[in-house]
């Protein structure tokens, strides 16, 4: 089943104004660089972006923020981004902050056809405001709903024409969860391999969840905090 498209432009062709997007990645690690570049080029506006972070000023989702393409961010952590801060304080940008595990699990719930999940994260805090709380075995949990996203944009290390995906190291993070959760899921990969080349035991995302796949190009894979130890 061939789901290969030529490039990012073709993959995102029908992402239009007002779409709700999921974008994989943690910090700048494992983000769909090619899709973001294509979205910036297309200039589509009023997007809602569900993504753990919002990039930095000149990379990742930060590039879309610079072009004022984002109406609302749903994230767990949005530091390290001055333009983000400016738009938030000026009221141009709406932000919904949710606990990181809740974010991950609401993606998984969507992918697994579960309408809602229970988590203790945020009980007794402002995150719980307006949410249903329920006690199980003496502990309180919040009811949190599955996300509903028009498109999920994910980045994998390798993929095949069926859409089977393999991620590398901590670049996995939210990608497999969002891959399952999009109404349409677009995967960009560093290496597109022929069907049958990936070991079926080691596939992280089975192709059934993927609608379009393409081989990305010119990955920068920027490091956010280059930290090293001294040679001893």
């Amino acid at each position: 089943m061939n789901k290969v498209v030529a490039n990012a432009d073709e993959a995102i062709r029908d992402i239009n104004e007002g779409a709700v997007l999921m974008l994989g990645g943690f910090g700048l690690c494992g983000i769909p660089e090619n899709c973001i570049t294509a979205l910036v080029k297309k200039g589509v506006k009023r997007l809602t972006c569900i993504s753990n972070n919002a990039g930095v000023d000149d990379f990742g989702i930060g590039l879309m923020l610079q072009q004022k393409q984002v109406r609302k961010m749903i994230s767990s952590y949005v530091g390290e981004n001055a333009e983000f801060e400016r738009q938030l304080l000026s009221g141009e940008l709406e932000v919904e902050l949710i606990p990181q595990g809740t974010l991950a699990t609401r993606c998984m719930a969507a992918g697994y056809g579960m309408p809602a999940i229970f988590t203790p994260a945020g009980v007794g805090t402002e995150v719980a405001q307006g949410k249903e709380t329920r006690n199980f075995n003496g502990k309180d949990y919040l009811l949190e709903y599955a996300f509903n996203a028009d498109f999920a944009l994910v980045k994998a290390w390798k993929g095949d024409p069926d859409g089977n995906l393999v991620y590398r190291e901590t670049a996995r993070n939210f990608n497999p969860l969002m891959a399952m959760a999009g109404k349409v899921t677009i995967a960009e990969v560093e290496e597109l391999v022929p069907a049958g080349e990936l070991n079926p035991d080691t596939i992280h995302t089975p192709g059934i969840f993927i609608h379009r796949i393409f081989q990305g190009k010119s990955y920068e894979k920027r490091i956010e905090q280059r930290t090293i130890r001294k040679r001893s």
């Binding site: 902050l97 805090t125 901590t170 670049a171 930290t227």
Partner: protein
């Protein structure tokens, strides 16, 4: 004399037990990894999807696909495993992580913690902190006892927006080691040369202190 950040980390490292799975937060908690006692085997969990975090890489060996929850480049150790964020917070939620060490802006005498938001200032978000504090079996907070103005950060009630409720078990500050008990903060150890009276004066929440509080000792 108040502890340095390194000494706070060093003192917390003594709480590690052989076989622990440990999640270390950003800042002082990250430094704890440098003081793991000899003969104590612990595995570090990074909530972005790694068990078995190793030290920072040597120059030239940084891998952009391999970072910790603080977005720092890291390495792995033999026996490490990668997984997605749902499984990561699944294991946290299910109580598989034995110890969580994190920083705080405020802790209340009932173990409430505030460490993610200062209203009116920039809000960066809670990241994984709310998940961690809601589920960890054992939480140690690494913090300064007072803010730069000298005001106590160990309070009867948190003033800042909460991260979690009734979850902190122990605090290691620059001045003291304290347990959070149903009766309030119980003073266990003093920083070298710091008096119980000084600690009491800098602790706004209820403090319980025996007559004889030992000083912390640091080797090396």
């Amino acid at each position: 004399m108040a502890l340095t950040k390194e000494q706070i980390a060093q003192r917390i490292a003594k709480e590690l037990k052989d076989g622990y799975y440990v999640n270390l937060g950003i800042g002082i908690p990250t430094l704890v990894a440098n003081y793991i006692p000899k003969g104590v085997n612990v595995v570090l969990q990074s909530e972005n999807g790694l068990l078995g975090m190793g030290p920072f890489p040597l120059e030239g060996e940084e891998d952009p696909d391999l970072i910790n929850a603080g977005k720092q480049t890291i390495t792995t150790i033999a026996g490490s495993a990668f997984f997605d964020s749902a499984m990561s917070f699944g294991m946290i939620r299910a109580g598989k992580v034995d110890l969580t060490v994190l920083g705080a802006m405020e802790v209340s005498e009932r173990g409430d913690i505030a460490n993610w938001k200062i209203p009116g200032k920039m809000v960066k978000g809670m990241g994984g902190a709310m998940d961690l504090v809601a589920s960890a079996k054992n939480i140690i907070v690494a913090m300064m006892h007072t803010n730069p103005k000298g005001e106590s950060k160990l309070l009867p009630n948190c003033v800042l927006p909460l991260t979690g409720v009734g979850c902190v078990k122990k605090i290691v500050s620059d001045l003291a080691v304290l347990d959070v008990t149903p009766e309030g903060f119980r003073l266990l150890e003093r920083a070298p040369g710091v008096s119980v009276q000084e600690i009491r004066s800098k602790t706004l929440g209820k403090l319980i202190a025996a007559d004889d509080i030992p000083e912390m000792k640091f080797e090396g």
